[in-house]
């Protein structure tokens, strides 16, 4: 079998221009498919990573923008199974008031944030600094990079929901490339609100960490039962479910991405099929001669198929590599709109590359089958009569 | 009508230089039916290409219908061919997607005639070659002989002074070959055209006025053909 490999390769070189054009087209199409798939894949990967931890969110059943009493926090912390819990309130601060809010920022409890979000891998020294400094702040890497901040820097934010402007000192970073969050101390916010005579006993939501994954459903039920029929009924859900719902509005767009990627995949099939049929048509005469010499049709079919598949797969590999370059460019363009969340990552995962190769391989086979089959099976006499 | 003076043609083939024609000088007066003959590789096709304006000589002068071909640009040559020459090729060379009539009309598209006039001329040409009732057929529906006759109709539809053919009977059986040769004879006899063909078909000798001989690119001289003595009928009939 392998001894025919050089023949297959040589056949591709017969018409270099055509092979290059076909390969180029397939390469571009595969690169496109990879880029388009980063959106749904990125979203899935994001959710999958969240599924691993046992963190839950507790919020008002009416909606995230509805508040809950701060008093709920201590009651949640007392529930068996809860390792610790932290309150979470939207500060809505802007670096430049005219530009508006550039990244999500929340007021949280400094005492417990480190425990509840232990899995994020923040430096213990940074968490400790945040805990002991009222004006401390923990900032996600994406925002740090965007503004060029370093730990120790001073940052001033003007709230768009409260009549406050506060200055913070950065305690450290949240080490995740796609994390834009900015955490400030709830106590600091409370103090400032009190100075203005504004009441501050409400919070937005609570995040809690459960000790064992199996206990999560039971603990969630217990918490919700605890607050049923109070002034603010709660709904608890896992972090994965929370973000799934939060980003569910992107479903429609992701669906369009997927449809478009399938259309482009379809293109590849037809481009490859066109080329295969052209190549085969030109070689009818020599195929007839080979068969007259004694080559079995299965062998001829195999070499023709191998030719289409080889071209397609090589082109697919180049396309996959090309997509890496494309996504880098798109990623830098996208960093100006962080609101796209997990969609703006444009990360071409290894799984996407593998998918690309598979698509290319199967497209090659699919497109080569029909023309090759027909050509290999034609009777020698019929071909010679027609061609000579 | 056609005059060649010291025409030579050579070209590269790999590492060698091939001398297709060496210092050929000859004259073909108007209204003559001439055959260029010689062994394979003698340069007769090359000679035909040059006098028909399809190729340029490496050296020497070519004059056709009073014009020096060397003075004409590519586009001027194209125009020249359109108005003064008609072509008949060995493999008929009809456009497969056009009907017989449309194929014959093709050269007329280069003129200023309107649709009705073009149609009329095409039908006249087809009548001359005896294929008027097949005007609407596609080439795939015509036999080899019929296709060549359509090609001849196309060659004469603009009423050119000269008709050239490269192996016009090369792909035909005996009966059709005789018919085509007879038709070409008619073009000279009834319409006064100058007809030049390249051929190695021995049957052709009976129909032509003169045979020009070539060997290894060198003009070997001429001898009279069978038709000079009136020995061949105007329309070739099978024996």
């Amino acid at each position: 079998m392998i001894k025919f490999a050089p023949i297959v390769w040589r056949n591709l070189l017969r018409n270099k221009l055509r092979s290059l054009l076909t390969g180029g087209a397939i390469m571009l199409a595969i690169a496109l498919v990879c880029v388009l798939r980063t959106a749904p894949e990125g979203f899935d990967a994001f959710l999958k990573a969240l599924a691993k931890n046992s963190r839950i969110s507790i919020h008002n059943t009416a909606g995230i923008v509805y508040s809950m009493p701060y008093a709920y926090l201590s009651r949640v912390r007392a529930v068996p199974g809860v390792v610790d819990a932290v309150s979470w309130s939207w500060f809505g601060g802007a670096v430049d008031v005219d530009e508006g809010v550039a990244f999500p920022n929340f007021a949280v409890d400094a005492e417990t944030i480190g425990v509840v979000f232990e899995d994020l891998g923040m430096e213990p020294a940074a968490v400790e600094h945040f805990r002991t400094h009222r004006d401390g702040a923990l900032v996600g890497r994406m925002t740090m990079k965007r503004f060029g901040w370093q730990p120790g820097d001073e940052v001033t934010l003007t709230s768009t929901v409260y009549p406050l402007t506060l200055t913070f000192r950065i305690s450290g970073e949240i080490p995740a490339d796609q994390d834009p969050r900015f955490w400030l101390q709830r106590a600091y916010l409370e103090e400032a609100l009190k100075a203005q005579g504004i009441a501050s006993d409400q919070i937005g939501m609570i995040w809690a960490r459960i000790d064992q994954a199996e206990r999560v459903p039971a603990v969630m039920k217990q918490i919700d039962d605890m607050f049923r029929n109070s002034e603010a009924e709660t709904e608890s859900e896992t972090e994965k479910s929370f973000f799934q719902n939060f980003f569910s509005i992107l479903q429609g767009i992701i669906a369009v991405f997927l449809i478009v990627s399938w259309l482009v995949t379809g293109c590849i099939v037809f481009i490859a099929a066109n080329t295969a049929s052209m190549a085969v048509r030109e070689r009818l005469r020599e195929l007839a001669v080979l068969k007259a010499i004694g080559y079995r049709w299965r062998l001829l079919f195999g070499t023709l198929l191998a030719e289409a598949t080889l071209l397609s797969t090589l082109a697919g590999a180049s396309g996959a590599l090309l997509s890496l370059g494309f996504t880098r460019v798109l990623g830098t363009l996208a960093s100006t709109t962080p609101q796209m969340g997990p969609l703006s990552g444009f990360v071409v995962t290894n799984w996407i590359l593998v998918q690309a190769l598979f698509i290319a391989f199967f497209v090659g086979i699919l497109s080569g089958v029909v023309p090759s089959f027909g050509a290999a099976r034609r009777s020698v006499a019929a071909t010679l009569r027609e061609v000579f | 009508m056609i005059e060649l003076r010291n025409v030579s043609r050579f070209y590269q083939r790999g590492a060698d230089v091939v001398h297709a024609l060496e210092q050929v000088s000859l004259e073909i007066p108007a209204g003559r039916f001439v055959a260029l003959m010689g062994p394979s590789g003698s340069g007769k096709s090359t000679l035909l290409n040059i006098l028909a304006g399809l190729d340029r000589p490496s050296d020497g002068q070519v004059s056709v219908a009073g014009r020096k071909l060397g003075d004409l640009s590519e586009d001027e040559l194209a125009e020249f061919r359109a108005s003064h020459l008609g072509f008949v090729f060995q493999f008929f060379n009809l456009i497969p997607v056009f009907s017989a009539r449309e194929n014959v009309e093709l050269p007329l598209l280069l003129t200023h005639l309107n649709k009705a006039e073009r149609r009329e001329r095409a039908e006249t040409a087809l009548r001359i070659v005896g294929l008027a009732e097949r005007a609407g057929h596609m080439p795939a529906q015509l036999s080899g002989g019929e296709q060549q006759r359509v090609a001849i109709a196309r060659a004469i539809v603009t009423d050119p002074e000269i008709v050239v053919g490269d192996e016009p009977t090369g792909d035909l059986d005996a009966k059709n070959a005789e018919e085509v040769l007879g038709l070409l004879r008619t073009l000279k006899q009834e319409f006064g055209k100058t007809v030049v063909i390249v051929t190695h078909d021995p049957r052709a000798e009976r129909y032509v006025d003169e045979v020009l001989l070539l060997d290894k690119g060198v003009f070997q001289g001429s001898r009279p053909g069978g038709a000079a003595a009136g020995a061949a009928p105007a329309h070739g009939a099978p024996r």
């Binding site: 809010v101 293109c267 080329t275 049929s277 796209m340 | 194209a78 493999f91 997607v97 280069l110």
Partner: protein, 392 residues
């Protein structure tokens, strides 16, 4: 005089398989691009055509959306009497105080989304002139009633006219459906501002104000006056500018569309080039014959470029014929496309292929046809008449 149009067209019909395959490739590219572009233009149409240039939106300074802003009652009471604020026939200022809350709504298939509920007073209908009650009637204040936008009505559970809608901590009777020419207000639910503030337990009753500028008044001067007022920190801008800024988040998708069109366009062009080269190759003798007969190089080139463009046009027609119903089907299946991360609430967008989208697709197809066919046509043109003597 050149070769007739039916020469390239008949040749396309002659090589049916090759033509069909190439047309399919181009059609697929056209569908993909049109669909994606349609998504983006539908988004921009919804987000950016909202609002009136005669209205000002007043929020806390720095707030970029009226869901996360707070404007005190005293500010409203002062601003509505500012010079320059339009008045209606009865001499009442056209100033609409509004409270925006984003509670959870549930879609037909169980998805949970934040929907923009706007607490307003009846004067809101006079300030937002593009909003009309299309079915039913406007709510009566303090009666626990609500009107829903057309987009909301089609996307969520329990929002039919006459039904009891539950959100927040209360339930509201739907008495009307509002229509706003496809702008963002159709993605909202309107209720009585006082009832909403009570339900959401807001101590600051309003999130923002909408003021109609009186005709002939210098709008910028009014804005400056509002912003300079030291009693409060407010920002004011024309409504159209506010909504245009929100549409910017869709701009990024625009880049993606251009990327898609360019890359896919090149891919399809390569495919077309392949097909045309093969066509030229197969017809070398024929081309030589045409040249021998006297047709110029320009004529031959034009014939082949025409063939290539015809392929593209066929692909365009097939592509558009499929894309339009496909877009409709997708939109129906998904219950409208939702978007609006930056505003923290959902804008329901109807995916529609507009004339603009088709025009862009036509340009793309033309580029594919021309770009793809140029090189092979050039090759055909450069063939010498002598090629006519080749066996075909």
């Amino acid at each position: 005089m050149a070769l007739p149009l039916h020469y390239p067209l008949r040749n396309l019909a002659h090589r049916r398989l090759r033509t069909a395959l190439t047309v399919t490739v181009i059609a697929l590219v056209v569908i993909a691009t049109t669909l994606f572009l349609g998504l983006v233009t539908s988004m921009r149409r919804t987000l950016a055509t909202t609002g009136s240039p005669d209205n000002l939106i007043v929020l806390r300074k720095g707030s970029d959306n009226d869901g996360s802003s707070a404007v005190p009652l005293e500010a409203y009471q002062a601003l509505r009497f500012f010079d320059g604020v339009a008045k209606n026939g009865k001499g009442e200022p056209l100033a609409s105080p509004e409270l925006v809350v984003q509670p959870f709504f549930f879609t037909e298939d169980g998805g949970r989304e934040n929907v923009l509920v706007r607490g307003v007073e009846p004067v809101a209908l006079e300030v937002h002139d593009e909003v009309r009650i299309a079915e039913g009637r406007m709510f009566v204040p303090s009666q626990g009633e609500a009107v829903v936008g057309r987009g909301v009505a089609s996307r969520y559970r329990g929002v039919e006219l006459g039904e009891e809608l539950r959100f927040g901590r209360s339930s509201w009777k739907i008495v009307g459906v509002l229509d706003s020419d496809g702008s963002s207000f159709e993605s909202e639910v309107w209720v009585d501002v006082r009832e909403l503030a009570a339900d959401a337990k807001r101590t600051i009753p309003y999130s923002g104000l909408r003021l109609k500028v009186a005709p002939g008044v210098d709008r910028d001067a009014l804005i400056r006056r509002i912003e300079a007022d030291s009693r409060w920190t407010l920002g004011a801008k024309p409504e159209t500018e506010y909504y245009a800024k929100q549409a910017e988040s869709a701009d990024f998708l625009f880049i993606l569309v251009v990327f898609l069109a360019v890359v896919a366009g090149f891919g399809a062009a390569f495919g077309a080039t392949n097909t045309m080269y093969a066509a030229v190759q197969a017809r070398i003798a024929e081309i030589g014959t045409l040249r021998a007969l006297g047709f110029s190089r320009g004529t031959v080139m034009r014939a082949f470029v025409t063939e290539s463009v015809a392929l593209a046009v066929l692909g365009l027609l097939v592509g558009v014929a499929i894309a339009v119903p496909l877009a409709f089907a997708v939109s129906q299946a998904l219950g409208g496309i939702a978007f609006g991360l930056s505003t923290f609430s959902t804008s329901v967008i109807t995916l529609r292929i507009s004339v603009f989208d088709v025009a862009v697709a036509a340009l793309l197809a033309l580029a594919i046809g021309l770009g793809g066919g140029l090189a092979p046509a050039w090759r055909a043109a450069r063939l010498r008449p002598i090629e006519a003597l080749r066996k075909g």
